[in-house]
Symmetry: C2
Subunit: 274 residues, 2 copies
Amino acid sequence: MLSAAEQVTRSVQGHDADLPSRDARLAYRAGRVDVTAGVAPGYVQGNLAILPESLAASFHRFCQLNPKPCPIIGMSEVGDPRIPALGIDLDIRTDIPRYRVWRDGELTEEPTDIMAHWRDDLVAFVIGCSFSFEEALIADGLHIRHIDEQRNVPMYRTNIACKAAGPFEGRMVVSMRPFKPAEAIRAIQITTRFPSVHGAPVHIGKPELIGISNIAKPDYGDAVSIQPDEMPVFWACGVTPQSVILQSRPSFAITHAPGFMLVTDVRNSEFSIQ
Amino acid sequence: MLSAAEQVTRSVQGHDADLPSRDARLAYRAGRVDVTAGVAPGYVQGNLAILPESLAASFHRFCQLNPKPCPIIGMSEVGDPRIPALGIDLDIRTDIPRYRVWRDGELTEEPTDIMAHWRDDLVAFVIGCSFSFEEALIADGLHIRHIDEQRNVPMYRTNIACKAAGPFEGRMVVSMRPFKPAEAIRAIQITTRFPSVHGAPVHIGKPELIGISNIAKPDYGDAVSIQPDEMPVFWACGVTPQSVILQSRPSFAITHAPGFMLVTDVRNSEFSIQ
């Protein structure tokens, strides 16, 4: 079996210059600013975290220790804005529609490129996102409640401790999708195939067991309806690494702005291990 | 990927004359009478259903339509007591420690062999059993409650209708094992690999949704404890085909007696699709 990294390499070697994902990045690079939901269907979108080299090794170790909330799908060399494994011509400084710049843990700017902020000591991490497995769930005939209700996915802080690395520690954030029990079993089977984009759920039913006291009040995103014959199913969420980074109050960090993801040239199906 | 039948064939072609499963069958053939739990660990045990040819085609179709409760792992030719795919020298008339003979849906005898009952028009079906996947769950570090509590697995009649074929119709019987949510997710992943022995659960949590009004009162087997941080997980059960056969009140049928299974030469691991 190929590793995810080898799959990415293989993908890029056979890449097509007319990819819709590449077209999207070029449009963002040229100044377009839009949320990326629905852009380049079938292609992986990722969360962005950029840190100074002095913090990057600890953060990399944090991700290694916590692969379910923090699956790294690409990272740059120190000071190099390219991540060829995710797109031959990708430039992490310009190809995301909107960024957030953080100093000492405080949001200071929301620029549409980070040319003025890039430094020779920065390392960019791209972390998998549940868009990839949601596409597989929908392809199998399942309905995703927050999509049907045209809301953001509900997300909750839990009492599940991440494993600490250097200054990075904190609790896991989870996303929730309600399903009937037999659908939940199918959703577990399908998302198990996608370990690079959060994989199988971390919890099912009984929200109180993971420290969620009110399922109707998510900590991030929007509440969605849950029917009496449904159960909440919880996946590790890519908001976790951002939340952990900001809690550590790093001197400098850059992330994507919520909803404005990195669109990559990797196909969602390439992250399926079956 | 090989089909289960091809895997069985491959297994038998490479079979070892000193198999513990074969030794067990020879002992039963020689007159030993014991329940088969714990016998020949690592080897598949199966449920037995023998029907006259006039009913066998309908029953075969019933199993085909309902593979989760009725996974056929072997069947005989009409009138032939051998099932070489499950054991080169297997004789279905003598190799099970105790049988049940049914006439017009009523239990008439519990013999230790069926030499006197065998007929030229009989067809034997061997149906997978959850022992195989329980071994895989235990190997992964999960605890099976009814094994820890030294009881029979709790089984329940549900409101889940099987698909009908000829005279065979009825509701699915399920077995239940309680797990903490994260363990339940792992158990779903592991049993998904074993479609020939019931596969993934059919239901999780909320027993009332499948017509189980009192989880403390199983219809077959024994009740087991369920802790507040656990949820019941339900698998399709091999008792279903027996229950459906007897409901149809066939003129003649033979089954194994509960707990006295057919021990085969197929390794449990051969039924794993990964």
